[in-house]
Symmetry: C2
Subunit: 201 residues, 2 copies
């Protein structure tokens, strides 16, 4: 439990949480653990050590609290920027790298809550910000935007099987083998600059 | 509404629904439209024109009714059997082909209900039956089972973006272009027999 005003030590640094931060931290933990429908405003308030009315005053509604605390953006930020030749492998390595469990939990909670129009819109925003925006101008060859979206679909597919279906083979296979194998499939949509100068898809 | 004993004409053929069939048909329609949590046993019973106790007597529980009526199996059955050289395109064409809306609705309802362990197990069964079982012995090259699972992940990713996130570009783009483009990405995991005789991945 991380109450407002509490001092939390992290590597010897002492920080004081505001009420808003304490609520957000409690909500993030509960949503990731129990999902959207399994988490109540009352439970978040109890976990944060505040009155439920304060949760609503700070975030407006349970739906907005969920959207404000489930941060999918940024999870693939750096991975879309490096050399295109290794984009596929870099995306998979990023998915499987540090923060993997938080990433899988956030994705799981978001996808299971997609009967909410706001949640769908947020997932679409994340797709645009993480893949379509950065990749469309960089991908050589025709239909770059479509291919950027489909790269997002491939990443979503792997998240799906690991976070939602919990495929026992994928969650336990050697991450390097998974990175090389699925990276090659993503790479098929990247296209590489033709050494003669013209782009090929 | 399709009540038991009712005569439904389909292409001039008259069929009589049993109580079980009437419940299953009503449940399928309601689950696809409103999802698992948005559909009650009472609503299914009302739609089928039977007493709610009959729903439980025939199917045991709402969860079992859901699993019995949301049929994902068979949706890709034939597509995994034809020539490997066109497997990727054939899988996408099958996904986008006749029955697409039912397929997307069933997938949507199942994935949103994956907080149920039984639903996760059913999705994993579907992956095994539709992709891992038929493809593992057919794929040339190393790590055939892993690649079969990842082909399933790619299909799930496209279903995701179309059914759950409802990506407006993917749902409206020329299906032939989508089939060629995403088919090529799936094909990267298929591998093709080496003309010299040895398998390459």
């Amino acid at each position: 439990m991380t109450r407002p005003g509490q001092h939390c030590g992290l590597r010897g640094v002492t920080v004081t949480l505001t009420t808003r931060e304490a609520i957000a931290r409690a909500a993030g933990a509960l949503f990731e653990q129990h999902g959207y429908t399994g988490t109540s405003v009352r439970a978040v308030a109890a976990e944060a050590g505040v009155d439920p009315a304060l949760v609503i005053r700070h975030f407006g509604s349970k739906e907005k609290l969920f959207l404000d605390t489930m941060d999918l953006q940024g999870h693939f930020g750096g991975a879309t920027l490096g050399p295109l030749e290794e984009l596929g492998e870099r995306l998979v390595a990023t998915l499987l790298g540090p923060g993997r469990d938080v990433r899988l939990s956030a994705y799981r909670a978001m996808v299971r809550a997609t009967d909410s129009e706001l949640v769908r819109a947020r997932l679409l925003d994340a797709l645009e910000e993480m893949f379509v925006g950065p990749l469309t101008p960089r991908l050589p060859g025709p239909h770059a935007e479509l291919r950027a979206r489909l790269i997002g679909a491939q990443v979503a597919g792997l998240l799906d099987q690991m976070a939602l279906v919990e495929d026992p083979v994928l969650v336990s296979v050697d991450p390097d083998l998974l990175t090389r194998t699925y990276g090659a499939a993503i790479q098929a949509l990247v296209g590489v600059p033709d050494p003669t100068g013209g782009p090929v898809s």
